[in-house]
């Protein structure tokens, strides 16, 4: 019985600390939800009064910013398709075929991946893209992202595929399927939850990235939203908070939508229907 008050105290302190931490993290998000609908939004938190959509109306008239959202979509979709397809095939091969030293290959790739998409490699990447004549193209951005994300994507997927019994494909092949049929009919559907996770992860990465498109692109009409967001800064460099907030909300919606869609359709589960 002597311990009871002690536990009560500890729980109170813990709850208070958790509440404080939660508030610190929640406040910017609350601001993020309220500010776009406030015609006089500032960096301080305020409930919109009156509630207005005028910020959005102004943002929608900014053709550069709207084009930028489309550009973001093109670059993210291109990168996701490339990463998804290449990572699936590569990870499958690394998992299933007896390639000597395949473990080492995966780990070395993983090690370099952080280098490739990191800022340290920006100069060589710029030079390579420049030499390839791809500066100021969507393709340049897509390729660099794909190169940077692939190793990690392969690593995640290879682990995932390793955990799936080979007998799935073996039973398909014994039943008369070619390796290609076994892959598409049986392996691919079973791996799909893993692929979806990788696709979402790649999409979010490309969608939110600033440095690579900023360096590789020149013309306004190709800039993605992460760069275009700077058009809501005045020439003196101060943010126009109302428009910035509205644009940010629009910018974040596809990621939220993607998450909800995937969660509804696939449920972000790693394993399904495997009976051991």
């Amino acid at each position: 019985m002597r311990k009871a008050p002690n536990i009560f105290m500890r729980r109170t302190v813990f709850s208070a600390a958790a509440t404080f931490l939660g508030t610190v993290f929640a406040l910017p998000l609350v601001w993020f939800v309220f500010a776009p609908f406030n015609a006089r939004a500032e960096l301080g938190l305020a409930i919109p009064s009156p509630f207005t959509l005028s910020n959005f109306a102004t943002v929608f008239q900014n053709t550069f910013a709207m084009q930028a959202l489309l550009n973001s979509l093109i670059q993210a979709a291109g990168g996701v398709v490339l990463v998804g397809a290449a990572a699936t095939l590569a990870a499958y091969a690394l998992s299933r075929s007896p390639i000597p030293g395949k473990g080492a290959v995966t780990y070395i790739l993983l090690l370099f991946s952080s280098v490739v998409s990191g800022s340290a490699a920006m100069v060589p990447i710029f030079l390579i893209i420049s030499a390839a004549g791809l500066i100021d193209t969507h393709l340049a951005v897509i390729l660099v992202f794909a190169g940077g994300l692939l190793p990690t994507a392969m690593f995640i997927l290879r682990d995932f595929i390793d955990a799936i019994p080979r007998s799935y494909e073996e039973s398909a092949m014994v039943a008369g399927a070619s390796p290609l049929q076994a892959f598409f009919d049986v392996a691919l559907p079973v791996i799909r939850p893993g692929i979806v996770v990788v696709l979402v992860w790649a999409f979010v990465n490309i969608w939110g990235s600033f440095l690579i498109p900023f360096i590789l692109l020149r013309s306004d009409k190709l800039m993605p939203a992460s760069v275009a967001i700077y058009s809501f800064y005045s020439e003196a460099g101060t943010p126009i908070v109302t428009l910035l907030a509205a644009y940010s909300l629009i910018y974040s919606l596809p990621v939220v939508a993607l998450y909800l869609f995937v969660n509804w359709k696939f449920g972000f589960r790693f394993f399904g229907g495997i009976k051991s």
């Binding site: 007998s167 039973s171 092949m173 014994v174 039943a175 070619s178 390796p179 049929q181 009919d185 009976k275």
Partner: protein, 367 residues
């Protein structure tokens, strides 16, 4: 249906030799069980027939055709996997019909065929379900249906019943037995369960450390186990093996061991030769032991270690001091108390002798 032949097959995984060198022939219509403890190379051998492993050397023939390097799909085989390997995203009908799909059969026709097979296996009303929505026994029958849905040269089974509970296993075993007699299928069946092998096989290949120790019909394996390994593996409970010292006297073989009383055994040339080492192993099956009465000539004695009542019979195990245990299957209602001394008798014709190296010595009435 077709024959299967292994010609000097070996298989290594890196430095590990799974199968050193085996050769055997399976005739058309035979049901062969590869029986052995785990790691004896039986599954590896099966997978080499299926084409899921490539032999390190040697040739695999199916129906007289060299299939050593042929892809599994071109071998004309079907296989039931231990984990069933049902495709989790397809319903039962599509699972069963998948082999027909890859053969380019129309959807309506392959589903009609799947229904036929499913009905035979009593899963016809589950066709719209997913594998995760049916029981283990039903999954097992689905995987069996998938193997039976198209005609094959050889049917391969990789411990298909090991994930079922005891009752379902018996039922499935009976069904497979009926199927084999019905279809006359050529089948290779891997199992570590000797009862399964005894019940199903027309011939059993007992394997140990990648080698075939004995390849014979079940009754032969049971009556004349080639080595102590086979004797110890087949039978439930397995054959009692008692190390004995031997000598020759008065033109007969004399056996000696603690707690053992044995009538002299008639000499043959082979027995005389094997007796030179001075040691043999005496083998008697548990079902050939009975409670001794006065006048019995072959008796083994010891203290009762355990008495397990199995319903119709009892498993009586007695301990011969430090000389190991002997188990008997006895049909008796008598209660025997643990620790009391028990004498078990057996007939001379039920004795199996193994020489110093563990190989069986042919009895006098054999040629």
């Amino acid at each position: 249906m077709a024959s299967v032949e292994f010609q000097n097959i070996s298989k290594s995984f890196g430095a590990f030799v799974a199968v050193p060198d085996i050769s055997f022939q399976i005739a058309d219509g035979e049901f062969i069980c590869l029986l052995g403890p785990s790691g004896c190379g039986k599954t590896t051998s099966l997978r080499m027939i299926a084409g899921l492993e490539t032999p390190s050397s040697g040739r695999v023939m199916i129906g007289g055709r060299d299939v050593t390097y042929l892809h599994p799909k071109d071998r004309g085989i079907s296989m039931v996997f231990q984990d069933y390997a049902l495709y989790p995203h397809m319903n039962i009908a599509d699972n069963i019909a998948y082999p027909l799909k890859v053969r380019g059969e129309q959807e309506t026709r392959r589903h009609a065929r799947a229904k036929e097979v499913a009905d035979v296996l009593k899963i016809g009303d589950l066709l719209k379900r997913l594998p995760s929505q049916i029981s283990g026994g039903q999954q097992q029958r689905t995987s069996l249906a998938r193997a039976l849905v198209y005609p094959s040269e050889v049917y391969l089974f990789d411990e298909p019943l090991s994930n079922l509970d005891a009752k379902l296993r018996l039922e499935a075993r009976g069904f497979l037995n009926h199927l084999q007699r019905d279809m006359g299928m050529t089948a290779v069946y891997v199992t570590h369960d000797q009862a399964e092998a005894m019940a199903l096989a027309t011939r059993i290949a007992v394997m140990d450390k990648g080698r075939i120790v004995q390849f014979a019909p079940p009754i032969e394996i049971y009556r004349r186990p080639a080595t102590t390994f086979v004797a110890n593996f087949v039978g439930n409970p397995p054959m009692n093996l008692v190390p004995v010292e031997v000598s020759i006297g008065e033109g007969a073989l004399l056996l000696r061991a603690n707690g053992l009383q044995l009538a002299p055994i008639a000499l043959t040339d082979v027995i005389a030769k094997a007796a030179k080492s001075g040691r043999m192993t005496l083998g008697v099956r548990p079902e050939h032991l009975r409670i001794a009465v006065a006048g019995d000539q072959n008796v083994v004695s010891g203290e009762l270690f355990a008495n397990e009542n199995m319903g119709p019979e009892s498993l009586v195990t007695l301990e011969r001091g430090d000389n190991g245990r002997v188990t008997a299957r006895i049909f008796t209602d008598d209660e025997i108390k643990v620790g009391t001394s028990v004498h078990l008798a057996f007939d001379a014709r039920h004795i199996t002798l193994f020489d110093d190296s563990g190989a069986r010595i042919p009895a006098a009435d054999e040629r």
